[in-house]
């Protein structure tokens, strides 16, 4: 399935843009993709197509695929299809849904930040953030448009 879908969704333009963006990668980033057949199938395919193109473009990206309900999904507390985790052994960042449209840009940025450890925060924000002592879960609701 992956190969056919890749050809359909990931155009040469997208690959070139990813190639350019991934020049910045430093450390290896592991990506885990979780899907369940019958739920959001089109978006499962998009998530697989997007992520399976990435290791071909950069050897610093390693992707693994899992089924919702398997051991890994239980360990990672993943229940929704599709879900993509970025560097889950190091950080707690996830896309609940497929990062299509405008969200593709922030997904790629998330991978780059996870690889380099450098973020987009200003020095001022970083100083403010130093005051945070408690656990926080951020949810951002988005749409492709």
């Amino acid at each position: 399935m992956e190969k056919e879908k890749k050809a359909e969704f990931i155009t040469e333009d997208i690959k070139n843009a990813l190639r350019e963006a991934f020049k910045e990668l430093k450390d290896v980033v592991r990506i885990e993709v979780y899907t369940k057949d019958g739920i959001n199938d089109t978006f499962n395919e998009l998530a697989v197509a997007l992520t399976s193109a990435m290791p071909e473009i950069s050897d610093k990206i390693k992707v693994s695929y899992h089924q919702i309900g398997d051991e890994s999904s239980r360990e990672r507390n993943v229940h929704r299809s599709p879900t993509i985790l970025i560097a889950p052994d190091k950080y707690n960042m996830r896309y609940t849904g497929s990062p299509v449209g405008e969200e593709g840009r922030s997904f790629v940025m998330g991978i780059i930040m996870a690889s380099t450890g450098k973020t987009l925060l200003t020095d001022d924000s970083r100083k403010r953030l130093a005051r945070l002592q408690d656990k926080r879960h951020i949810r951002v609701f988005v749409s492709p448009t």
């Binding site: 925060l121 656990k135 951002v140």
Partner: protein, 384 residues
């Protein structure tokens, strides 16, 4: 994502696509995006400056006000700008680059109408760009020079001691000149249930929120002008089942749009108004009334898109006693001067074509005119 990396172990970040997770979107009333929650608490609808987001993250709840770094407690400015849409952001940028100290007050979201525009395709030089991306670019550029105080409402402006005093929720700020860029908002229907179900199927922006209803959902578009018909065509092209509800028996939209609507056989309920939007958590039904027979009817609907025009956010200008036009927009001359010396207006609040490119242009003109007028008061010359 940045904060989840900077504070790994403490911060987890989740981006949720609403179309694929409609149940979550409904649970969190996040059918209008973007919406940001910390835990279960909504901290922002729309874009938020980074310092506000970080302070919200620390507090675990929305914050009203963040002290700008470097200008703590500064109360006197050359120019106070009200509104952080494209006009206000550009006005502050030009003011600062002219050597005038400025501050922007924004009571709601930075970016104004552009922040809810999915794609901007008529801003010269940028081709096609997401509205929120354009807002980020503009706001970041302005914040290199000026400060934006978000969540701070200016309740009144008074002429005092040869200048102005702006009364805000954070005290009084003094300025030599004022630029009003408060924009225009979507008109409401004022139907029962409209406010309760806003963001839960009631929407004022089809291009922002239509995607959720693309697969054969029943949507009503209310209105008969260009915006309403454009919205109806957009929603129809997405695959929604669209019905237009219009209070008159003819459209006032341009002919070309009307032809497209008729060609696509989009049903129209003429002479009909919406009396009530009904639903527990989300829109389920709509009560409509035939204005001729006064007969009411309840129809099923998943969403109601309201496109009955704009109204100027003019309360502040009215209080100040500025001259307005018959539609309630501030009257300005070619230099963006209002009827009161050293008070300028820019952007949608001045009426006209309401484009981003004209808003930024007017913001620049207002700031440069203010710079000129502060140095050479034209009204004093006229008197002498």
């Amino acid at each position: 994502m940045s904060t989840a990396i900077e504070k790994k172990g403490l911060v987890s970040a989740e981006v949720i696509e609403i179309y694929e997770n409609r149940d979550l979107a409904e649970k969190y009333a996040a059918m209008t995006v973007p919406k940001t929650f910390i835990g279960e608490t909504l901290v922002s609808s729309g874009l938020q400056p980074e310092d506000y987001f970080v302070e919200s993250l620390i507090a675990g709840e929305p914050v009203e006000y963040v002290r700008p770094s470097g200008r703590e407690d500064l109360r006197e400015y050359d120019i106070v700008v009200i509104g952080a849409g494209p006009a206000g952001l550009t006005a502050a940028l030009y003011a600062e680059r002219s050597g005038l100290k400025s501050v922007i007050f924004e009571k709601a979201s930075i970016g104004g109408q552009i922040a809810i525009t999915p794609i901007v395709e008529n801003y010269p030089g940028l081709g096609s760009i997401a509205g929120k991306t354009l807002v980020e670019l503009m706001a970041n550029q302005t914040m290199e020079y000026s400060s934006i105080l978000q969540g701070v409402d200016v309740s009144e402006i008074k002429k005092e001691n040869g200048g102005f005093e702006a009364a805000t929720g954070r005290g009084v700020y003094r300025a030599r000149a004022i630029i009003i860029a408060t924009g225009a908002g979507s008109k409401k229907l004022n139907a029962a249930g409209e406010d309760k179900l806003a963001g839960r199927g009631v929407s004022y922006c089809a291009t922002c929120d239509g995607y959720l209803f693309k697969d054969g959902k029943n949507v009503l578009v209310i209105g008969g002008g260009n915006s309403a018909l454009t919205d109806a065509l957009y929603l129809d092209s997405l695959g929604a089942h669209v019905t237009i509800v219009h209070r008159r028996e003819t459209f006032r939209a341009e002919e070309r749009l009307q032809q497209s609507v008729f060609q696509r056989n989009i049903p129209v309920m003429w002479n009909t108004i919406v009396k009530e939007v009904i639903g527990e958590r989300v829109v389920e039904k709509v009560k409509i009334e035939d204005v001729k027979t006064r007969k009411t009817n309840i129809i099923k609907a998943d969403a109601v898109f309201i496109a009955i025009g704009y109204e100027p956010n003019s309360a502040l200008a009215e209080k100040l006693g500025l001259t307005m036009d018959e539609e309630g927009y501030i009257k300005v001359d070619g230099r963006m001067r209002t009827s009161m010396p050293l008070v300028y207006a820019a952007g949608d609040i001045t009426g006209g074509v309401k484009q981003i490119v004209t808003a930024v242009s007017q913001g620049a003109v207002a700031a440069l005119t203010a710079f000129e007028d502060i140095a050479n008061p034209y009204w004093k010359k006229q008197v002498s």
